[in-house]
Symmetry: C2
Subunit: 390 residues, 2 copies
């Protein structure tokens, strides 16, 4: 029996992971994952990219590289960030193994045990898990009908001294909701005013199905408090494991030291191949193809929900991203209902797992990017049948 560090007590092997294993069996229609549609991966373009960088007879593609990342890729990402209204040069870009590593490194830099993280409640499960492993405490950012309760946010900043703010403002995982422009401006202002590092986690903004582009929180930040996290997992492929952090140079210098001890650097080959892909293929056409497919699946799921569920059941109407958040009437417990759903060969993630504390038991997250239209129809049907809300 090993004696583990105290922090291990806070690293739960989410019960959910165990439950969801059941749902990986053939025949089960799963809305539980957060997976892109694999049939849309640009396999042949990625194949060509690897072939070109490995065929260039330059062995440096397989050598140790710099901790901050491959310079031409940092330049390319900086240009993309500028196009999004975020002022960035190559020196502001730091490559990570997916944005999950960005969360881990930022938690490592900022969180002492007991420090408070201010976050949306519910929030991305993986972020909560990371912050917990650094023994953080949490405080929810309250919401009202208009969105975030800015007065409560300022009250928390003033009186609860959070160490970090964590937000996924665009097509959030798990709810699919998006913060309006005015709130983004206010958050950027408050983060600067109170000097609280604010993580803007933005994996989904490219998956926009309707409405205008909403500017990032970081684009409104006059100072360096807002730290932006990007990823290639949703627009290219998650199995590559490549993301990035946008921050000021002082932060990047700290991240370099933290990542040195963590895994030295991100794969040189991966970075060079991704740079080749970004600069040689029509990436916006590819993202447009993803958008069209996911939009169709979202529309279909929304329509099936409307047909199958009575008015006591409500759900979000996401304008982008990969998820719909469905809420059953009070008294339902989606955690307890999951085994019944699994038996009927359909799966979801019970909403409670996305709350850092004080969660609601009657919600669930439904993914629409991965299942086929046929599976969406059948799956929502099965779900309505076993839930029997009426």
């Amino acid at each position: 029996m090993h004696i583990y560090a105290d922090r291990v007590k806070h690293m739960e092997n989410s019960a959910i992971r165990e439950i969801l294993k059941v749902t990986e069996q053939p025949g089960v229609i799963t809305f539980a994952g957060g997976l892109p549609a694999p049939e849309l991966f640009p396999l042949s373009d990625i194949r060509e990219s690897y072939d070109r960088v490995l065929g260039a007879k330059d062995p440096s593609v397989l050598q140790y590289g710099s901790t901050e990342g491959y310079l031409p890729l940092r330049e390319e990402i900086a240009a993309q960030m500028c196009a999004k209204g975020i002022k960035a040069e190559a020196d502001n870009i730091f490559l990570t193994n997916g944005s999950q590593q960005g969360l881990d490194l930022l938690a490592k830099l900022f969180l002492n045990p007991g420090d408070i993280v201010l976050l949306q409640n519910p929030s991305y499960l993986g972020a909560i898990q990371t912050f917990r492993s650094y023994q953080a405490n949490f405080r929810a950012i309250l919401t009202n009908d208009a969105g975030i309760d800015l007065k409560d946010l300022e009250f928390s900043l003033k009186h609860h001294h959070p160490k970090l703010i964590y937000l996924a403002p665009t097509y959030q995982n798990p709810t699919g909701t998006t913060l309006p422009v005015e709130e983004r401006q206010a958050i950027a202002r408050l983060a600067g005013q109170y000097g609280i590092p604010t993580i803007e986690d933005d994996p989904y903004s490219e998956l926009r199905y309707e409405g205008p582009v909403t500017p990032t929180i970081k684009s409104f930040a006059a100072d360096d408090e807002v730290i932006y996290l990007g990823t290639f997992s949703k627009t290219l492929a998650p199995g590559l494991r490549l993301g990035w952090i946008v921050g000021d140079r002082k932060l990047i210098a700290k991240l370099i030291v933290a990542k040195q001890g963590t895994d030295l650097h991100t794969s040189t080959l991966l970075q060079q191949a991704t740079h080749y892909y970004l600069t040689h293929f029509n990436t916006s056409e590819h993202v447009e193809r993803i958008r069209q497919t996911y939009k169709m699946r979202r529309d279909l799921m929304l329509q099936e929900l409307k047909v199958s569920f009575p008015t006591q059941v409500s759900w979000t109407q996401p304008t982008g991203g990969m998820f719909i958040w469905l809420t059953l009437p009070d008294g339902f417990d989606t955690d307890k209902l999951l085994p019944r759903a699994a038996a009927a060969q359909v799966a979801y993630v019970p909403g409670i797992h996305f709350y850092a504390h004080n969660g609601s038991h009657c919600s669930m997250r439904l993914n629409f990017s991965n299942p086929t239209p046929q599976q969406i129809k059948q799956g929502i049907n099965r779900l309505a049948e076993i839930l029997k809300v009426n």
Copy 2:
């Protein structure tokens, strides 16, 4: 000004990194790095491996994967471990982004601030850096003429209650030395007897230039206290970033939870391509080619040292690995001499940086795997000239 976590005070941006930047300029002969010879990377075989797995029209190669790693690769590594005398099945293998990530995840699982790590002094710089970032304290494993002072080791285990033991028993970085079989047996026994998790970091054992294969410490361990770290960085290529941990199933379960919060999983594509490479190419022939080249460079460096330095200077005679450890007479300070060496266009790593505490100032680490024979000759010459020991 951000307020960082307490642990950040312990994460030094090693001054050495800054000094060594100077030595990256063209014309400088560097023995400072720990880099493999890039001209030996199996570029075309790796190219073919990526081409095959990306050409198989199975998009799962780019999808999210399991945290523990790609099963066929875990099976292949388990078989290789068994061939080394380490009992392992696929369930005992955990894939990491290089063995540096193995160190980070193990530190995360085991170290509370203030916990003691027992280690060789000097030790691998990157390991010290990782343990420091978890606010560990250190205690040196004393050595005597025969090798490790086993009585002192047992005394430390009994009275200092270390949380971890860290050892690189084979062709150690930085000294190039190897622990004899009897000491390995004793360490395996003591680790089990006192129940102290013992990390056997083994990046170099395949780079053997003479003498018999020395069995791993783990192969002598009757229980699960010894945790083995392997890597493809030295036998294949470091720019891929792929390593593994061998441990019992309970430890692997904890590692899964830790890595989930850290970066979800290691690249699916990288794992599948590496599996293809391992199962379709003659890897032992490739490693033999590396061995021959490095052995020649080691021999040359040893010979040049003998020609250029007087008898007051001593150095190790490594039978494998990538490093020679050179010790100048008392009074020399290799840290202070480095700028002078850099000015003469030759670089090394001052030995002091490899000590967790109480280091000697008159040593340096010299790498012989990366420089060409011509550079070794010229570089050792330059070094002898500026050090002017006589």
